[in-house]
């Protein structure tokens, strides 16, 4: 079969699975007074459509910031406005100021789900297709397998089409950025990434590798000469993109400041809910939030984040290759997720995106991490009533990725580059590390399955109401910690030995 028909089939399958998940419930369905992210997005449409731009980010009688106030950068607001414009044509009731608050109907749900699918089809899916076609090696069958696995990665599907968010936009734009850098169109790539940053501030998790990669490349080209020219071009592209995005807010410094204040809410504490990062997991042992002042917490998290992120970034600065760039993206986003301030469980998707891009090179570790990342959002998904799609998509992904990428065949000691561990931890006896790692994988999958089942079926003991969410987040945390260590080691060991494994089928 020709590659194009296989690709079309994969894309169609990806779309159908997305639509299948979207038939399910969304966050906060039928739960007044606050509802959930679905209502937040609808509310932003209402606000942006009915109020002038200068009132979007300010508290007023028409814009109660305590009720899902706009706290994303301007591109999100423009996107909301565009959706609201279309919604107003279809049914003005959906975006009427004040009156539409908490509006829920099957038609509206269909509309909202369609908006997600449309941006996904425009941004995320084409970027994935192009990435797999041009930036992965191997036969066309291998490329299609990687494409199918990335498209069916459950985390993004469940959050965008179940819970309800537009991660397809920010991740899609970031992927366009990565694509641009990978193909050598640095200025275009940085424009795409700036747009991503202006859609969702969480894209900052990816900013450092982008910066270091481009800077490193300029250094390499020689700062006095061609490199300088490159640097200026990229900087100009970024500045212009930012200026255009922020144009309506630049006239008045108070406006711009207010937007920044809304985007970075430092007052909300070190962490909320149960999230699989260091602070929440440490909280089981030490109650940091009561021990330290909030300023101290802020600095603590800052220091740790820098410590986690800087090594890989500096390494990237000295070796600006695409391979190191991808690894640094994982290390940076995971470092931010594990150590930074005010992290949401959904932010793991930011780390999942670059890991998806490594499915081709490091199938075993990537599949493992991607499974764990979906699992880490279990409490959220259960709250939204997404148990069936969670179970179905995760099982399907595990099955498919292991079969298509033959992930389990690629976990010998050499392929996982485990020799460094041998040096690091002085393994005294000659044990097969590949085998140990494979067993760890089996055990962790069993733990994830077991915890998923117990969270659904058993009631927690009355004095420990959060037992299962804490267990879930701690388990996921341990897996994430292992991943970041492994990927950092990879970053500091040599480039991957060129594929000796040629797949037979």
């Amino acid at each position: 079969m020709q590659t194009w028909s296989l690709i079309s089939i994969c894309v169609l399958l990806g779309v159908v699975v997305r639509w299948g998940v979207s038939l399910n419930s969304y966050s906060g369905a039928g739960k007044p007074p606050m509802f959930g992210d679905y209502e937040a997005q609808r509310h932003w449409q209402e606000v942006t459509y009915n109020l002038p731009i200068r009132e979007w980010y300010f508290n007023s009688t028409n814009n109660d910031l305590a009720y899902w106030g706009l706290d994303y950068p301007p591109l999100t607001a423009y996107h909301s406005w565009l959706c609201a414009y279309i919604a107003n044509i279809i049914n003005p009731e959906w975006v009427k100021l004040h009156k539409s608050r908490g509006h829920e109907s099957p038609e509206h749900k269909l509309f909202m789900r369609t908006t997600v699918l449309v941006v996904d089809l425009l941004l995320f899916i084409p970027a994935v297709v192009l990435y797999c076609l041009y930036l992965t090696d191997g036969s066309s069958k291998k490329k299609v397998s990687v494409l199918l696995c990335i498209l069916l990665y459950p985390g993004i599907i469940l959050i965008d089409y179940g819970h309800f968010q537009y991660n397809g936009v920010s991740l899609g734009l970031a992927l366009w950025g990565i694509l641009g850098l990978g193909l050598g169109w640095d200025a275009l790539g940085s424009i795409a990434f700036s747009l991503a940053l202006n859609y969702k501030q969480m894209e900052l998790y990816h900013a450092l590798p982008f910066f270091c990669y481009l800077l490193g490349k300029c250094f390499k080209a020689g700062l006095i000469g061609h490199g300088f020219f490159l640097l200026v071009r990229i900087a100009a592209a970024v500045v212009v993109t930012f200026a255009l995005c922020w144009l309506p807010f630049l006239s008045d410094p108070a406006q711009a400041l207010q937007v920044v204040r809304r985007i970075f809410p430092v007052a909300r504490g070190l962490f909320e809910d149960k999230v699989a990062n260091t602070w929440c997991s440490l909280n089981v042992l030490i109650k940091i939030r009561t021990l330290m002042s909030s300023d101290a917490q802020l600095y603590l998290s800052l220091v740790f984040t820098l410590l986690a992120v800087l090594p890989s970034s500096i390494r990237l600065l000295t070796r600006p290759t695409f391979w190191h760039f991808k690894l640094a993206l994982v290390n940076s986003s995971l470092g931010f997720f594990l150590f930074s301030y005010q992290v949401h469980e959904k932010s793991i998707l930011l780390a999942a995106l670059p890991v998806c891009l490594l499915l081709d090179d490091l199938p075993f570790m990537s599949v493992w991490f991607l499974l764990a990342s979906t699992f880490s959002m279990l409490p959220l998904l259960l709250k939204d009533g997404l148990l069936v799609p969670y179970a179905v998509t995760s099982t399907g992904f595990l099955l498919l990725s292991i079969y298509l990428l033959s992930a389990l065949d690629h976990c010998t000691e050499d392929e996982l580059q485990l020799t460094t561990y041998r040096k690091l931890f002085f393994f005294p006896f000659k044990s097969d590390l590949g085998c140990i790692v494979r067993w760890k994988f089996y055990i962790s999958v069993a733990a994830m399955v077991g915890l998923s089942i117990t969270s659904v079926t058993l009631d927690p003991p009355s004095h420990l109401p959060d037992l299962f969410p804490v267990l879930v987040s701690t388990t996921a945390y341990l897996l994430f910690l292992g991943t970041i260590i492994h990927f950092n080691i990879l970053q500091f060991s040599g480039p991957p030995s060129k594929k000796s494994q040629k797949k037979s089928n």
Binding site: V17, L23, P389, T393, N505
Partner: protein, 533 residues
Amino acid sequence: MAADGWSWFPVLAAGVSLFKCLFISSYRSTDFEVHRNWLAITHNLPVSRWYHENSSEWTLDYPPLFAWFEFGLSHVARHFDGDMLLLHKQNYASPPTVLFQRLSVIVTDGVFILAARECCRCVQTQRASQKAVLSRPSFILAVLLLWNFGLFIVDHIHFQYNGFLFGFLLLSVAKHLQAQHLQGALLFAILLNLKHIYLYVAPAYGVYLLRSYCFTESSTDGGIRWRSFSLLRLLALGSVVMAVCGLSFGPFIVMGQLPQVLSRLFPFKRGLCHAYWAPNAWALYNALDKVLATLGVRLKLLKEAELPQASMTGGLVQEFQHSVLPSVSPSVTLVCTLLSILVETVHSCVFPRLKPALASIWRRPRGARGFLRCLLLCALGSYMFGWHVHEKAILIAILPLSILAVESREDAGIFLLLSTTGHYSLFPLLFTPTELPIKVCLMLMFSLFSFSALRKLHSADGSLLHPLEVVYLLGLGMVALFSEVLFPLSPWKQRLPFLPLLATSVYCSVGVSYSFLRLYATLLRSDSKPKQH
């Protein structure tokens, strides 16, 4: 074949089962309530009341074995939500009920998966030496069966239990292909007692079993050798079939309820065509009648007042009165159906030597594949001319045709035509806007796969479709665009609500009729130049 040559099959099967689970909360038709009601009937009432109960309009109208199947399911259903088993709870659909009913379809589809596996084994392996999984006939057949678009939307969105029933049909076909005729007969007898729509293909079974099983030898020219008749085999066959039927209908015969059961199974009170015309000969006939009536009124040959009331508006009227052409009665459809089916079977039985061109199934050398072709013609013939045919019945032809499609170029062409038109004719089953992306994407997926895979498979033998056929299929896209997108936005929506259905039905009936004729032609042609199997 190497031991690991089949490792893709479990993945494919598990993948498709998981995929089905995604659509648990999608739209479901009244058939969902029909089956829930049957669960309640079989669970609460004694057997003697099963075919008398009529407190709901969805009375039990499947044969007894299916009722027992529902009875078995109801004992599992108890553990999900006992309330769904209460008779008076009409239109009850709590989340556990939906989950249970949907899962019951997905789980019983295991029979279908098993059957697909057996069919894949039977596929001729002369090309199995090919390395790539994607171009192996067995892989293509597995995808064509397991990911069949029609079966998917009918079972897992619209809601019915066809997967498990087709499992029995394909399993029995596979047994015949493997020359295990008694098992095949047993499976088919069970199938007939699960759903009597498969009576459509019973003639093919009857003639084939009689000819190939009861006569042990053929003469050298493939003709029949009367002396080789084996009474023992006939008795074995008869006792298998009678035992199954006895088990199923016996209790009702003892209770003296046979007429009541049969009246439920064969309701001739319904009209010639279903509310939405299945794309068959009668759809063309009705359309012709409509055109003639309109023309007559235009040309002042007919007076509008004298015509019977236009009975297509809304698409709900069951009785359709023809204005110009003579009305069709059930007996006429029966005769047409029998004619279309029996020409190639009985005719060839009676005059095997006089008309060698028509001697199809009676001729030994063509074996089980000839039988399969005959089965297809029976299915299509009764679909074309039957009384009150449902559009879903097209699957009885499409699924078995998949087996032939991976074996010969000619059949692959017919398969592409028939599956595309037949599947498209199922589109009106799902009319809710939420399901639109699902049906469009899945249909595209299936068609893309079948076109590219079959073309690759038969690439050595030339093109699969005539350019005109390609144009016809592209026209299908136009019809889809018109009825799914343009028409709902146009001002005609209020005035002529039935127009998209009419267009779909008439356009598809051309394709189905053509495929029927082309399939018939292959049968005749293959007789004149027998293939070596």
